[in-house]
């Protein structure tokens, strides 16, 4: 692994005008986040666990239970695509609830998933009955090992451990209607729910990660995205909860915990309902969940957004004459369903709006399992070509040739992850939980 400190420093210096040397992907990303611009627009590694499993051809019953296999598959697939940073994450929403005893459904082809017919928490009595999370239970040891491996083998600003944020944990442990009813109509119970989530379920998992040497951990919170949760409810519940958890983790563990990631991510599906004021409020919430002040799009139907709104927001809320860094996310279904040419045209359009003044990073809001790999290769190639600084005055004149890439198996042969992946493809016994 490269020296992260030097890469960060290189990126910061380059981004602020000292444009010497060849940037690594990680340094390129830091140049955009902490400076004005890098050499090309970076393409960050997206959440990709299902897709990586599919590309690598390993079965779910091994992949989601073996930290080494999970991490190596994602590192290999992300490197094959040429992303500038790694984002390595398993089914992060399941670990705590599984260890607390939730009934799970396991399958050969998909990640473990909570059996919603039998929620752990249906009311206050269940909350009183539940014991704190035991980090030796369920897949917590595997999660801790995966977090340790990610911190050790990956690089870049997003190489960190993972956990399920309190609000999403509560949906997993209970159900959406029960939790929402508590938030809106029974605040005492809602406070008890969050207290349990933060201190009895998630903190012990963070403690186990810290003891394994993990310094940073990210808490996904997709259930808190808009319109599942409104900006008002997120501000009232999710943000204070994230702050409490982060403060306790920092104070007692020395670990940086970012909870609430994806809170109020604007995921309205109907373009006719897109609302600039609501988007602004959602972006206000999202900014409170990141370590760095950023304007984020993630899982929403971004292909139909007016991207000028995001650019305007980033400019209006920037400081010292710089706009906020913008995360420009290509929608998962758009990436799966579109032709390579359509993807290129969307990227061309976005770079024209968002990229000319720098401070923009591309990624994909989760890569669906069966996304054609050529679509992802095309996206990375197009961003790195169209996004080379200085950006061409007339982007429509820049031709994008089809990406040049080897099939995954041909590429894999001499990669350090090859043996792990070959072994992972071999049939093996199902984990014991399959027959429990």
């Amino acid at each position: 692994m490269a020296n992260q400190t030097l890469e960060t420093l290189h990126g910061v210096l380059y981004g602020n005008g000292l444009r010497i040397g060849t940037l690594s992907g990680s340094a390129r990303t830091f140049a955009m986040l902490l400076g004005r611009r890098s050499d090309v627009i970076p393409f960050m590694g997206p959440q990709i666990h299902d897709h990586a499993m599919t590309v690598a051809g390993v079965p779910a019953y091994k992949y989601y239970f073996d930290a080494e296999l999970l991490v190596d598959v994602q590192i290999a697939v992300e490197r094959w695509y040429g992303f500038d940073t790694y984002t390595i994450i398993p089914d992060a929403y399941n670990f705590e609830v599984e260890a607390l005893g939730a009934k799970m459904i396991y399958s050969d082809f998909a990640m473990p998933t909570v059996d919603r017919n039998q929620p752990l928490i249906q009311g206050p009595d269940d909350l009183a009955r539940l014991r704190p999370l035991d980090p030796s239970k369920g897949r917590i040891p595997m999660g801790v090992e995966a977090a340790r491996l990610i911190s050790e083998r990956a690089s870049g600003p997003f190489a960190m451990g993972f956990f399920c944020s309190p609000f999403s944990f509560l949906i997993q442990a209970s159900d959406y209607t029960t939790v929402i009813r508590a938030l809106k109509k029974d605040k005492a119970f809602a406070q008890d729910l969050f207290d349990f989530a933060e201190n009895q379920a998630i903190f012990p998992y963070l403690q186990a990660q810290a003891e394994a040497g993990v310094k940073q951990s990210a808490g996904a919170d997709a259930w808190a995205a808009f319109p599942h949760l409104t900006p008002d409810l997120a501000q009232e519940w999710v943000i204070p909860s994230a702050e409490r958890l982060a403060a306790r983790a920092k104070k007692e563990l020395g670990l940086t915990a970012m909870a609430g990631l994806a809170a109020c991510d604007y995921c309205e599906e109907n373009p006719e309902k897109f609302d600039k004021d609501l988007m602004y409020r959602c972006w206000d919430i999202g900014r409170q969940t990141f370590m760095i002040d950023v304007a984020v799009s993630a899982m929403g139907r971004t292909q139909d957004w007016t991207m000028q709104w995001l650019q305007d927001y980033a400019k209006e809320h920037g400081r010292f004459g710089r706009k906020l860094p913008v995360f420009a996310s290509l929608n998962a279904r758009f990436m799966r369903d579109s032709s390579p040419q359509t993807i290129v045209e969307k990227i061309r359009e976005w770079i024209d709006v968002l990229g000319r003044d720098g401070r923009v990073l591309f990624f994909i809001g989760n890569v669906p399992a069966d996304t054609p790999p050529i679509n992802v290769h095309t996206a990375v190639h197009a961003v790195h070509t169209l996004g080379r600084y200085p950006i061409a005055d007339d982007l429509s004149s820049v031709e994008i040739d089809p990406p040049d890439f080897k099939p995954f198996d041909d590429w894999l042969v001499h990669q350090p992850e090859a043996e792990t992946i070959y072994e992972g493809r071999e049939p093996g016994p199902r984990p014991k939980v399959f027959s429990a």
């Binding site: 459904i105 399958s107 998909a110 990640m111 909570v114 319109p227 799966r336």
Partner: protein, 214 residues
């Protein structure tokens, strides 16, 4: 006079006040108000108002889910009276379920509640439904619509296989098929040969009505 009672029931549903909805419906029945009017002018109006507010960006998912929950809380007591009065509403049957390997049920439950509110007879197969259970349900219930939900990109791939299976068994043309769930799209619906894609609960109601010519 009755209009005020119906309005109160409607408002209880729209604002997601479950116990209020139940008590108001129970009291209305005890006072002899016609069950069908309580349903149409009270409960259904309340849930449709929530849908309209959703469409106008004035309501969001928490509001709609609580409205549906209030509707569901009051409905059983009313259903018994509707049966007694011989005034059951029935348009068409919809069999619905989340495909095998997938346990996410929020969207499916919301669609069930919304379709039920506009008169569909819902056969809810639940979550993690094996293909053969869908087949058996089609054969047994002869539904107008089969609703298939999936919420993971891996389980999504099972829908195409299920539709091919229905085709092989000669069942595909007997039923209209709607798909929905986070990873789905119109392009996906077209790809697997579904008749409609519901982008959310309210859209599912519109599409379901359109499929049966309503």
């Amino acid at each position: 006079m009755h209009e005020e009672r119906f309005s109160a029931i409607s408002a209880a549903v729209t604002t997601g006040e479950e116990e209020d909805a139940l008590h108001l419906v129970t009291a209305a029945l005890e006072d002899g108000l016609p069950p069908l009017a309580i349903l149409e002018e009270g409960l259904v109006k309340g849930i449709l108002t929530a849908g309209e507010l959703w469409d106008k960006n004035e309501y969001f998912l928490p509001d709609v889910v609580l409205a549906a929950s209030a509707f569901k809380r009051a409905m059983p007591v009313l259903e018994a009276s509707l049966k007694e009065a011989g005034t059951e509403r029935h348009t068409e049957t919809c069999v619905i379920g989340v495909v095998q390997g997938d346990m996410h049920d929020l969207g499916k439950n919301l669609v069930c509640d919304m379709l039920s509110s506009v008169g569909f007879d819902i056969i809810d197969l639940g979550i993690n439904v094996p293909p053969e259970t869908f087949v058996e349900a089609i054969e047994e219930h002869q539904p107008a619509i089969l609703g298939l939900g999936c919420y993971m990109t891996t389980t999504m791939m099972r829908i195409g296989q299920l539709l091919q299976d229905l085709d092989r068994r000669g069942l595909r043309d007997q039923v209209k098929i709607m798909v929905g769930g986070v990873p789905t799209s119109q392009a996906f619906a077209d790809e697997v040969g579904a008749d409609a894609w519901g982008k959310d609960g309210m859209d599912a109601v519109r599409k379901a009505r359109a499929l049966i010519g309503g």
